[in-house]
């Protein structure tokens, strides 16, 4: 027996996150660490719990080990439920054969039976690679009030950046009249956030149609795809379904690239940041590590930084985000950087404008990254990255934009 749920959330977590290079070599993008003690997936999962959505399917595909282990039974997010809760849904083999998820829409299509068990009215489709706090229940209410078939959450972006996003063109009632993926000359600044509310019966119909349509194209040797933005939304618009844009106001950050991941972490150090992680009414939950509080030593110098438990700091840390169990030894320097769980910065090492992956070791004398002011040609500057479990020996330096995935 399954109890009926008004809303079921489907979280697309199968992406490789190839633009994060060494940081997603062995982990799926939603499991990438962020903000000192979180992983990206903590944001949509915590938003679900705080919005009263207690049934979440997490669609995994790429490198799922760390992500599966992290989600576990969902207890840290209060999603260990008798009815509902969080379920990891990897691709599987059926009598019809086995297939990988062939796009975001296909991933949901392959798991329609999971959704049907709960007989929901609405399905919320989420991604796993954005930092934001959002009450999905308000978006569902908006969807209901507009008698919509699909509601897409949008954020107003500067016109100069609009061509990086999927842009919604709306009438005065926020009804979507057109959708253009990455337009060269944007006609609107309302960018899709990749968060959708669908009336389930409608979504079911379009998923099946798109699947059949795409398979037929494939059989004919034509190009095909099974994606939300490209296929489902476009078909619904073509059929003049009721699509609405729900405007989100607040902090929303895509962390799809190394630079944006670094920036999103640095944002946390800004006093003006509209993302309050200390807000008890909307906590971001995460799976905790059982480590003692952080110890700050006699030689430490810490300013404007965020540091998680279990760390031992005896060096200089400025404008940086340090995760659980990081060691910064005496006379080590960490500036404008992100240091992921368990990494060790040895005495005399310098880390600046860099991302250091989990459990990596930066030996004495090594120098990672460089201030943009010291780089003549600004195009040559970028974040220096050391991947997970990498040792950088003392005589080595890692230049801006360089990405190190193996010991050097």
């Amino acid at each position: 027996m399954y109890t009926k749920k008004k809303v079921v959330a489907m979280l697309l977590a199968g992406g490789q996150g190839s633009r994060l290079y060494a940081l997603t070599k062995n982990v799926a993008k939603p499991a990438v660490p962020y903000g000192g003690k979180y992983r990206l997936i903590d944001f949509p999962l915590s938003n679900c719990t705080n919005s009263g959505i207690d049934t979440v399917g997490v669609l995994t595909q790429y490198q799922p080990l760390v992500l599966n282990e992290y989600i576990g039974n969902g207890q840290p997010w209060d999603l260990d439920k008798m009815n509902g809760g969080v379920h990891v849904l990897p691709p599987y083999e059926s009598q019809a054969g086995a297939s990988w998820y062939e796009g975001t829409a296909n991933a949901i299509y392959q798991n329609m039976d999971f959704i049907r068990r709960y007989d929901p009215e609405y399905v919320v489709v989420l991604g796993g690679d954005h930092i934001y706090k959002m009450d999905y229940s308000k978006m569902v209410d908006f969807h209901i009030a507009n008698e919509a078939d699909c509601t897409i959450s949008v954020i107003d972006v500067p016109l100069a950046e609009a061509s990086r996003f999927g842009i919604m063109i709306c009438d005065e009632n926020r009804k979507v009249v057109d959708f253009v993926e990455k337009p060269k000359e944007p006609k609107s600044t309302l960018a899709s956030m990749g968060i959708y509310v669908f009336s389930w019966k409608k979504l079911e119909k379009y998923l099946i149609e798109n699947e059949e349509d795409a398979n037929a194209k494939r059989d004919r040797g034509e190009s095909w795809s099974k994606d939300f933005g490209k296929d489902i939304i476009t078909s619904m618009l073509r059929d003049e379904q009721r699509l609405f844009a729900y405007e989100f106001e607040g902090y929303w950050k895509d962390v799809g690239t190394l630079d944006s991941l670094w920036e999103a972490n640095m944002d946390l150090l800004s006093p003006a940041l509209p993302l309050d992680l200390h807000d008890k009414s909307w906590r971001i939950y995460s799976r905790s590590s059982y480590v003692p509080p952080q110890y700050v030593g006699n030689n430490a110098k810490i300013e404007n930084s965020m540091i998680a438990e279990g760390s031992v700091i005896d060096g200089s840390v400025d404008f940086s985000v340090l995760f659980a169990g990081v060691t910064v030894e005496e006379d080590a320097v960490v500036n404008y950087s992100i240091v992921m769980p368990g990494a060790v910065i040895k005495s005399g090492a310098v880390v600046e404008y860099a991302i250091i992956g989990s459990d990596s070791v930066i030996e004495s004398g090594a120098h990672i990254g460089k201030s943009p002011e010291l780089v003549e040609n600004k195009d040559d500057w970028g974040i220096a990255v050391v991947g997970h479990n990498v040792t950088v020996s003392g005589d080595k330096s890692v230049e801006p934009k360089q990405i190190i995935g193996e010991n050097i």
């Binding site: 200390h278 003692p292 700050v296 810490i302 300013e303 930084s305 438990e309």
Partner: protein, 373 residues
């Protein structure tokens, strides 16, 4: 560590509450906050769990609201189990009122012990902070055929300072020769760490004997009573232990955590100390923060100077404020430009801007829960 169903753990949450009466005014010994993110009961519970003990009973007495809140279902210690797990055993005495001693308490919860299939029982209090693996103790207990094995540590004892301390003397064969409670001596002594191993069968006999004789005290009636003729042996726990037997000792024990040797002895990577998860954000250090030799828990927001201090979860320190040599418990808010030295603030204290508070090492000023200054 695999799971051992043959041993039952029993933790007394309220033993020696009165020795730290300020801190236990609204809570049990076991729920006293310690070390930035812990409560004292986290140590015995983690020791049992890390030793593979699958079932643990926590014997409560009075004031146990905060203890219940902390322990919940026992999930954070991995003790929310179908087989074994955490059991809270509230107090009542067959002789009326609250139990009078460990034996009385055990008699009242005996049906819980009786239901267990375990052959051995480990008893522990909450007023000793230490990390210990019970498996070698169990091995020794089995190999020597002792009736009772008392776990002790060598440490400096001074009757002028220490309370609720039991000193053990051994003969050449490591049998307990004498048991002294708060003797008028000082110097290095074998101190009982208020932990012991005994077979369930013998414990049952002792408990029911004592009920019929109307006696209550384990120390007085059994350990000190030579006529019992029990074969009582000692197991020396060679690692660090800290006894919380006064507010001063509590203050000193917290500050000893600033020493890396102490932290290494208590927080070993393979045997973590578990505690209730708080879901706090990482610590945020402001532009003018200045931190030296301090232990700081998640959820703190620090704009000022902190030296030689322990800050629990969610403490806020304003700009220009200087905190030295203090223990600041969870949720304390300190305004701007304060000077704070040798202070213990209990939970959720509020100190408004421009206040100056000074205690001393032997007499730290204690500000009680929810106090406003």
């Amino acid at each position: 560590m695999s799971v051992n169903y043959n041993v039952l753990g029993l933790v007394f949450a309220s033993m020696h509450d009165s020795s730290v009466s300020e801190l236990t005014e609204h809570r049990t010994m076991g729920s006293i906050p310690f070390g930035g993110r812990y409560r004292l009961i986290d140590f015995p519970l983690s020791n049992l769990v890390n030793s593979g003990v699958a079932a643990v009973g926590v014997i409560t007495k009075a004031n146990y609201g905060s203890l219940l809140d902390h322990l919940g279902s026992g999930r954070d210690w991995d003790l929310a189990r179908k087989k074994g797990g955490l059991h809270l055993l509230p107090p009542y005495s067959q002789t009326g009122g609250i139990y009078k001693g460990r034996l009385d308490a055990l008699a009242n919860i005996w049906s819980f012990v009786e239901h267990s299939n375990a052959q051995y029982v480990i008893l522990s209090n909450c007023d000793i902070v230490t990390t210990i693996d019970f498996n070698p103790v169990l091995e020794q207990h089995k190999n020597t055929g002792a009736d009772i094995t008392l776990i002790y540590g060598k440490g400096y004892y001074d009757e002028a300072k220490n309370t609720s301390t039991t000193i053990l003397q051994f003969d050449e064969e490591n049998y307990v020769k004498d048991v002294l409670v708060n003797p008028k001596i000082k110097g290095e002594c074998n101190q009982w760490l208020e932990m012991l191993i005994i077979s369930k069968e013998l414990l049952k006999q002792i408990v029911f004997d004592s009920v019929s004789r109307n006696t209550f005290s384990l120390t007085k009636e059994i350990l000190q009573n030579k006529e019992c003729g029990y074969k009582i042996m000692g197991f020396e726990h060679k690692d660090l232990f800290m006894r919380i037997d006064s507010t001063e000792a509590y203050f000193a024990a917290n500050k000893r955590l600033l020493d890396s040797e102490t932290r290494r002895a208590l927080f070993m990577p393979k045997t973590p100390v578990y505690t209730k998860v708080g879901d706090n954000a990482p610590v945020k250090y402001g532009l003018e923060s200045n931190i030296k030799n301090s232990l700081i828990a998640d959820g703190c927001i620090i704009e000022g100077t902190v030296e030689n201090s322990i800050l629990f979860r969610g403490v806020k320190v304003g700009k220009g404020t200087v905190i030295k040599d203090s223990v600041i418990m969870q949720g304390t808010t300190i305004g701007d430009n304060c000077r704070i030295c040798e202070i213990i603030t209990d939970k959720n204290v509020e100190i408004r801007s421009d206040k100056i508070l000074n205690g001393s090492e032997t007499y730290p000023v204690y500000i009680k829960k929810n106090g406003k200054i």
